[in-house]
Structure formats: C-alpha cells, structure tokens
C-alpha cells in the first residue's frame, strides 16, 4: 500500500487541513469531482437519490454554463460590441491597446425580431414566433445545396478506382476496387423505396445491401468499443490513483 494513499492519515490530513485556502486544495477539488463521478456511476445499479442529486447538479451547471457562453461568446462580441462600437485606446505600459470598432447601430433592429420567438407561449399571437424560427430554418435550408456538393460529390468520385490490373494497379488492388464500387452500389440499391422490387434479383441485391450495411455497422461497433472502454479506464485511474492514490501515478 502506497504512502499518501487513502488508508494513511496523511491523506485525510491533506484533505481537511488544506495548505493555503481551501479552493487551492487540489485533493479537496478532486474529491468533489470524484464524489460527483460516483453519483453518476450509481445509475448502473439503479436510479437513486444520489444519482438524482448529481443529475440535477449536472443539468444546473451545464445550463448555467450555456447561459454564460451565450452572453460572453454570442451576445457580447457578436451583437452588443458591434452595435455600440468601441472607442480606441492607446497601449499603456501594463495594458495592451484596444483597436476602435465602428458602431453599427442598426444591430438594434435585431432584438425585437428575436423577441418574437417568445410569443410561442401566447395563444393569440403564437404564429409570430414562426418568423424568427422560420428565418433560422430557412438559412439552414439554403446552405444545403452547397453542403451537398462539397460533401457528397467528392465521395462519389472517390469510389471509382481503376479495375484493370495494368500500369500501377496490382491485381489485388483491382479486385478490391471492384468490390468497393459493387458494395457501394448494392448498399445504395437497398435505399431505393419507390420501385416495386418484384424481380428476385432486385430483392436479392437489396437483401445483400442490408448485409453489407451490417458489415459497416459491425466495424463501427468494433472501433467504438475500444474508445469507450479506454474512457472508463481513464476514469478508474482518476478515482483510484489520482483521488485515492492506491497506485503510483504516471
């Protein structure tokens, strides 16, 4: 058993008689985090009051943080500062200079539009909330042409690799390239909805497509399992080594 571990008095002394102020006591801070972690892990046995407590702390902190981020990353830099501008300030020995920002006061007009969204709670004027929402979803919709072109056309073009085993293409490569394209087409054929798949052949390909899809999903499953386990192992390290100090640190 290591010195400094949870089973030694030193650990408890460090926890309760902090060097310096309590906020700087790293062991205390880790302890807070560790207890919250255990709270979430208790869900594995069953939903309980400890979990419920941790969950509500979590949601509270997270939502609070979103609000903070909204103010300091969106409203302030993207709306307030551009609207009112910033007067220039020269650098002083201990403060760096602040460049001037012109005041685009027209941003003020945006606020009422955004506020229309709050009519969603009103019975009579509920439809007004559809204006800001509509603008947002409209902007999203408009981007999709560009997104489709940039994301999918390269993929489709990339599928086609040489299948003639000459030049720099080895027979093995040629076979693989052929398999790639066939797989792609067969799987895509599974996602054709509106054509009656009367012929045996079409039904077979569609079934085949489903199976090939399962190969892809299996691969995802396999690669993901690893990452997830390592995450848990890392948490175990945090609890057992960093917190309880039951083994030597890295």
């Amino acid at each position: 058993m290591l010195a400094q571990s949870v089973f030694t008095p030193e650990w408890w002394q460090e926890l309760f008689s902090p060097d310096g102020r309590w906020l700087e006591n790293s062991l205390l801070r880790i302890t807070i985090g560790a207890i919250l972690t255990l709270g979430l892990y208790s869900l594995l046995y069953r939903e309980n009051k400890f979990y419920r407590f941790t969950e509500h702390v979590f949601v509270g902190l997270a939502t609070g943080f979103s609000v903070v981020a909204l103010v300091k990353e969106v409203l302030w830099p993207q709306w307030w500062v551009p609207m009112l501008g910033v007067p220039e300030r020269e650098a002083t020995p201990d403060v760096s200079a602040v460049p001037a920002v012109e005041a685009a006061w027209l941003w003020g007009a945006l606020l009422p539009v955004a506020c229309l969204a709050f009519f969603v709670f009103s019975k009579k004027h509920g439809w007004l909330s559809r204006i800001p929402l509509g603008i947002i979803v409209g902007l999203w919709a408009g981007q999709q042409l560009n997104a489709f072109q940039n994301r999918f056309l390269p993929q489709v073009a990339d599928q086609a690799r040489p299948i003639i085993p000459l030049g720099e293409t080895s027979p093995a490569m040629a076979v693989n390239n052929l398999i790639v394209v066939i797989t792609w087409i067969v799987v895509l054929s599974y996602f054709v909805y509106s054509f009656e798949q009367k012929s045996k052949f079409l039904q077979r390909t569609s079934l085949m497509g489903r199976w090939l899809l399962m190969v892809g999903f299996g691969a995802i499953f396999g690669t993901t399992m690893m990452t997830r386990f390592v995450l848990f192992i890392d948490r175990a390290y945090y609890l057992l080594i960093q917190w309880l100090r039951l083994g030597e640190q890295l």
């Binding site: 939502t63 056309l153 390269p154 030049g167």
Partner: protein
C-alpha cells in the same frame, strides 16, 4: 462604401476548371426532386413505396404505453440548431403524439435546443387541439432539458428510469449518448424505435432498440406515415437521383480505369501544372488524385 474599389481579375471561380460540372450535378439532383414532387402532385396515389418495418410498430408501442399507463418518451435528436433533421423528427412525432392524445397516454418530449423546443411546443399544442382534447395537453410534457450533450443524456436517463417509460422514440441527430438512453430504456423494458442521421450511432441503436430505421428511411418515414403526394414525390425524385449516381459510378469506374493504364502525356503534365496540381517528377501514370472525376472535386479554384 457602395462603389467598387477593386479590379476583377477572373470571374466565376467556382465554375472554372470543370467546376460547372459539379454545380450542374447539384442542380440536376435538385431538378429530380422538384420534378418528382411536381409529378406526384399532378396524379396523386400513383406512387407506392416499400414497407418500412419500424414504423408499423408505432401504434403498437403507444398502445402498450396506454395499457400500462406509463408515458411515451420522444427525443428529437441533438441538432445544434433548428434544422431539417429536427423538423423531420418532429413531423414523425406529430403522428405519435396524435395517437397518444387519442389514448390519453402521457408523453415526454425532451429537447436539446431552444428553437427545436419552441417548434415542438407548437406542434404538440396543435395536435391536441386538432384531436379535440386540448385539456389533455400538459404544458410541462414538452421540455427543454439542456444543450450540453451529456447533461442532456444524464437527465434523459434519469427521466426514463424515474417515469418507467413504456415506449421510447429517438429520431434525428444522435451522438455518443445514444447508447446511454437506449440501454436505460431497455432496463425499464420499454419498446424502442430509433432513427438517426448519424450512421455512426445506428449500430448501437440496432443493438439496444426493438426497431431501427436505417439511413434515410428516417426521411422516408413521414412520407410512409402521411402518404402525402409532396413527400412521396420528393422520395421518388431522390430515388432517381440515386439510380443516376449508380450509373455515374460505373461510368467513372471505366473512365478512371482506362486513364490509369495510359502513361501521362506531356500535354497532360503541362495541363496539370497549369491547373495548380503539379505532377511529381518521374511519375509515369496518373495518381488517384489525377483521375478525372476525382481531380475535378480536388482542383483548387481561385
């Protein structure tokens, strides 16, 4: 400010160097879809689409919830903003809420995004109204939870376990948290139907849920449920686009194959130089990046 303070050197960058072919392809896809919609509207009922397994189970799931008097859970995904995916999810949920409203089954519609929450609120309200049971609508049954991924997951898991939901529907964008929700719902023995546009999560839904819509069955769902000509039509258009892409893949396959066995000519080498994708010295055959269709998508424009 208004007047020009610049000289135009070259115009139409995104159309240069065969770029127009890319734009044309996109336009063609759009045309397919619009044409499909147009045709389907002209003569409705002309379109039939293949069966989509998971969707037939919706009513069964809701019915089961009614018997046990336990709530139905719905999650419209973790879209970062109000986008078409969330809208599609809510469109599907509308029909679920409808049957829930008929059977007076309690619902839980948990949202990740403020805007999506607003729309969900509206839709739920409308459905209960049109079903003529506005009094059955509990305002708090449609909630915003959190817009931090795992806080959301924690809250959903907690809700599932506390309310012992009888049925759970996950539709839309899901990421790592998918399995947290699905396994917890599985613990309380809920019937689960899932459809996600993030195909990296589909395998986990397959493992933990009773019914999973694969890929764009998610988009086909509303057409399948509603049988509206517009939706069916756009589905047909998308099908034709898929077939065209298959054909294109085969053409590209042969083009590239013949390109790959012919050594680069001097003109080609010069051409690639001019186009900003220089050929390595001593290189005899074109590299994959120089295969025609691939090159089009990679050549720098402007």
């Amino acid at each position: 400010m208004g007047e020009r303070d610049y000289e135009i050197i070259s115009l139409g960058l995104q159309y240069q160097k065969w770029g127009w072919l890319l734009s044309l392809t996109t336009v063609a896809v759009v045309a397919y879809i619009l044409w499909g919609i147009f045709m389907a509207r002209r003569k409705a009922g002309s379109v039939t689409i293949r069966r989509i397994a998971g969707l037939d189970q919706i009513d069964e799931a809701v019915g089961r919830a009614t018997e046990t008097a336990r709530p139905v859970l719905m999650v419209p995904g973790l879209s970062a903003a109000l986008d078409g995916i969330a809208v599609q999810a809510l469109t599907i949920f509308a029909s679920i809420i409808r049957s829930a409203a008929r059977f007076a089954t309690p619902i839980r519609l948990l949202n990740y995004n403020g805007a999506v929450f607003a729309v969900a609120q509206e839709i739920a309200k409308d459905v209960y109204q049109t079903e003529g049971v506005p009094d059955r609508y509990d305002v708090d049954s449609v909630r915003f939870v959190s817009d931090k991924q795992f806080a959301f997951a924690a809250a959903v898991a907690g809700t599932i376990q506390r309310d012992k939901v009888a049925a759970a529907f996950y539709m839309g964008d899901f990421y790592a948290e998918s399995l947290i929700m699905a396994e917890n719902a599985n613990m309380v023995g809920a019937i689960q139907v899932a459809a996600t546009t993030q195909f990296t999560q589909t395998p986990f839904f397959i493992a933990a849920c009773d019914y999973v819509l694969l890929g764009d069955e998610f988009y086909a769902a509303s057409a399948y449920l509603g049988r509206e000509p517009v939706l069916l039509g756009s589905l047909v258009g998308a099908d034709w686009a898929k077939l065209t892409f298959m054909l294109f893949a085969i053409i590209a396959l042969f083009v590239h194959s013949f390109q790959a066995i012919r050594p680069l000519t001097q003109e080609q080498i010069q051409h690639f130089e001019e186009m900003g994708t220089p050929v390595l010295e001593g290189q005899q055959y074109p590299t994959p990046d120089e295969y025609f269709f691939r090159w089009i998508t990679k050549v720098p424009r402007g």
